[in-house]
């Protein structure tokens, strides 16, 4: 995906729209296209900018130049001067005044635009994924060479710890710590397992990492094996990902031929082998203990913990389970060092994050950006703004077990720390951007439908909680809900979160909690007024 040189924001609160903001926005797009700048300039509507003295207002980044009030006939001059010739369009600037705190990021980001930064996707789309030589030409297996010839296992653990790498599967657990647990655990045999059972709705980053750069995962697993003292690895790939499986099988074959896998790798005396295990369609197998059960040929029902897989995992042996994206960071960290890695992202969450952008934006797709980018920036720069005529209502992060983030939180930096403080979850990296036509009851219903189907049924809070929540939401969407339903939903959400055995049940309550926190009025409208404000729910049972 491209990086933009300039970001143009047009104020689009009700008053601005009355004064012609929509026409100004369209004219800017026209002029940008006419001058052939559409590949370099992103234009989007930004909502209320917090001051109404000079609207419609146009803000241009990275200079943070503020123009206003802008009329349609001013646009050709503005675009030509500022975006084409690169100088301030004289006479159009608004008086210097503070913008509201809600868009304070606008001054904080002055002089920079958040750019894509590729670490895990560095080679994806650049190399031929079926050709190991191409990977080697692009510095592939160098980190492994360095590890086996210059480093002791403790050195590897040390560098991963210092890098601050956190698990990218959703929980954000410090990777270095997990590796140390496995390294310290007593056991005759240890395993490294790569969790490629990516099934969070809206997430397909792991598929693209594997399909684009399968060897980086193998290399990372071999390094991990050396660090923790394991000699065997498994990659659990979801059954639906046929191409990813083919690519991995081919990569393993080639790595064996080149001596990167097998016995006595690089004459170091270290042996390592990797097997592929295909899933058969069960979301719950992304939960690490369910995944281990499934590799052992059983139903994918999560185990009771403790003991954790780090001490008793696959066939009762200490096992390291890491997500694909987490592992894909490892070769780069070994090669460039912990310092380098820490220079990317935020101090508490170093590195990059791969996101999938979906929903009612102009451009959907995959991006890799430093930790700490905001939702507003993602929508404006990478989503190229909301689809015409729509405005941003909420984002659903991290697939079904992520949070529902209202528009009022769109300037929160997206990193594990800031999100936890705000009380929402970053999840697995899906950003489902929804506009005003999305009904929160309908959305919650779809999410709970997913959980009730995918719940493995082993523990009661999750099996019964997801079913009951769905039934209640369905009744609200039919217009037959009662006010007591709201209390019940809150209770069910609390109980699922606190009492469920595994992550599925524990996160199934999140969408309910978020809807109650941020959109209670909309749910109450369904119950008290028998009206779906977004006009989505059938409401067929009212009267």
């Amino acid at each position: 995906m491209k990086t933009y040189r300039s970001l143009v924001l047009v104020s689009s609160d009700a008053r601005s729209l009355e004064l012609g903001a929509q026409q100004v926005f369209q004219k800017i797009q026209q002029e940008v296209n006419r001058l052939g700048l559409d590949e370099e300039v992103s234009v989007s509507m930004v909502g209320d900018v917090g001051r109404h003295d000079a609207i419609p207002m146009v803000i241009v980044y990275p200079e943070a130049a503020i123009y206003g009030p802008v009329k349609v006939e001013d646009v050709p001059f503005l675009v030509e001067e500022h975006l084409y010739k690169g100088r301030i369009a004289a006479g159009l600037q608004a008086s210097q005044r503070e913008l509201s705190g809600r868009i304070a990021w606008i001054s904080a980001r002055k002089g920079t635009l958040p750019a894509e930064k590729r670490v895990v996707l560095e080679r994806a789309g650049v190399i031929d994924p079926d050709n190991i030589e191409d990977y080697i030409l692009h510095d592939g297996y160098q980190a492994l060479g360095k590890t086996l010839s210059e480093m002791k296992p403790e050195d590897v653990l040390d560098i991963i710890k210092k890098s601050g790498l956190q698990g990218r599967g959703g929980a954000g657990f410090p990777t270095g710590m997990k590796w140390s647990f496995v390294a310290k655990a007593p056991g005759k045999k240890k395993y490294v397992v790569c969790n490629a059972d990516e099934s969070e709705p809206g997430t397909f980053k792991d598929r693209l990492i594997i399909e684009g750069d399968p060897h980086s995962i193998l290399e990372a697993m071999i390094i991990a094996g050396y660090a923790v003292g394991a000699t065997e690895g498994y990659i659990y790939v979801r059954g639906e990902y046929a191409l990813a499986q083919t690519r991995l099988r081919n990569a393993i074959q080639q790595a064996k031929e080149f001596g990167f896998l097998g016995n006595n790798i690089f004459d170091s005396g270290f042996d390592f082998d990797i097997h592929i295990h295909s899933g058969a369609g069960a979301y719950i197998c992304g939960e690490e203990t369910a995944l281990l059960e499934s590799i052992e040929g059983k139903r994918g029902e999560p185990r009771i913990r403790p003991p954790y897989p780090t001490t008793s995992g696959l066939w009762g042996m200490p096992t390291l389970v890491n997500n694909v994206e987490t592992l894909a960071n490892v070769p780069a960290i070994i090669q460039h060092g912990a310092e380098w890695y820490r220079s990317i992202g935020t101090p508490s969450s170093p590195g990059t994050k791969v996101y999938t952008i979906l929903g009612n934006v102009n451009v959907t797709g995959l991006i890799e950006v430093p930790m700490g980018i905001t939702l507003r920036e993602v929508i404006a720069i990478y989503g190229k703004g909301m689809k015409e005529g729509s405005s941003f209502k909420l984002a659903q992060t991290g697939g079904s077990s992520g949070s529902i983030i209202p528009a009022s939180l769109q300037d929160t930096p997206m990193d594990f720390d800031s999100f936890t403080k705000t009380g929402v979850a970053l999840g697995s990296g899906a950003l489902l951007i929804c506009d005003e036509e999305t009904c929160v009851v309908d959305l919650a219903k779809v999410l709970l439908q997913f959980f009730r189907v995918e719940s493995c049924g082993k523990c009661n809070p999750c099996r019964i909680g997801t079913e009951r929540s769905y039934t209640i939401l369905d009744s609200i969407s039919q217009g037959t809900g009662t006010l007591k339903d709201l209390e019940d939903l809150k209770m069910l959400s609390d109980k699922m979160t606190t009492l469920s055995n595994c992550g599925l049940g524990q996160t199934a309550g999140t969408p309910l909690r978020d809807v109650m926190n941020y959109f209670r009025a909309e749910v109450e409208a369904h119950i008290r007024l028998k009206v779906c404000p977004a006009g989505v729910c059938p409401m067929s049972g009212r009267h």
């Binding site: 990516e198 099934s199 969070e200 709705p201 809206g202 997430t203 397909f204 598929r207 979801r238 059954g239 639906e240 990902y241 295990h277 295909s278 899933g279 058969a280 369609g281 069960a282 979301y283 499934s294 590799i295 052992e296 040929g297 059983k298 139903r299 994918g300 999938t356 979906l358 929903g359 009612n360 959907t364 797709g365 995959l366 659903q396 697939g399 079904s400 899906a430 489902l432 929804c434 999305t438 959305l443 779809v446 999410l447 439908q449 997913f450 189907v453 995918e454 493995c456």
Partner: protein, 159 residues
């Protein structure tokens, strides 16, 4: 590719071949069932019995695994299986309208098979191709950015 499920000897041959390919260890139960399901179209009782004998596992264990995973089916399915993604990303991209039209066109509901045995309609969770939602998968063909009006044409490709 899909065999008539009635010929026991054919099925036995498939089971033997697959078990030989993967080895008769319990760890291989899921890959074995997956492969047989792909070759036979579903997992009839006879198959579960044969697999349980070859892997020296109680039949109840084999059945419990066969009914747990969504890609395995213990019921016969139609000649063509339509998988419709009902997860949120496809839903907000217009999936709801596609789903309603799909049920109208086929005149069946989720989990059902048409009387002539041509179509089976199942709902699935996210297939990981959300960039082009709504998504419909027929057998092994994937259709993205589907609109309700495209459905009759898409369905007409299958006999």
């Amino acid at each position: 590719m899909v065999l008539g499920a009635t010929h026991r000897s054919d099925i036995e041959e498939v089971v033997n071949e697959v078990v030989q390919q993967y080895g008769s260890s319990r760890d291989e139960l899921i890959p074995i069932l997956n492969e047989i399901n792909r070759k036979v179209g579903f997992l009839p009782n006879g198959v579960l019995e044969m697999v349980s004998k070859q892997l020296k596992l109680p039949q109840s264990k084999v059945l419990s695994v066969a009914t747990f995973y969504q890609m395995l089916s213990t019921k016969p399915r139609g000649r063509h299986v339509i998988q419709f993604c009902e997860s949120a990303p496809c839903h907000v991209a217009g999936g709801r309208q596609v789903w309603e039209r799909l049920q109208e066109e086929l005149n069946i509901k989720a989990g059902e098979t048409t009387e002539d045995g041509k179509w089976s309609l199942i709902t699935v969770s996210c297939l990981g191709v959300c960039g082009v939602g709504p998504v419909v998968v027929i057998d092994e063909d994937l259709y993205g950015n589907v609109t309700p009006d495209q459905l009759p044409e898409i369905l007409s490709h299958y006999s």
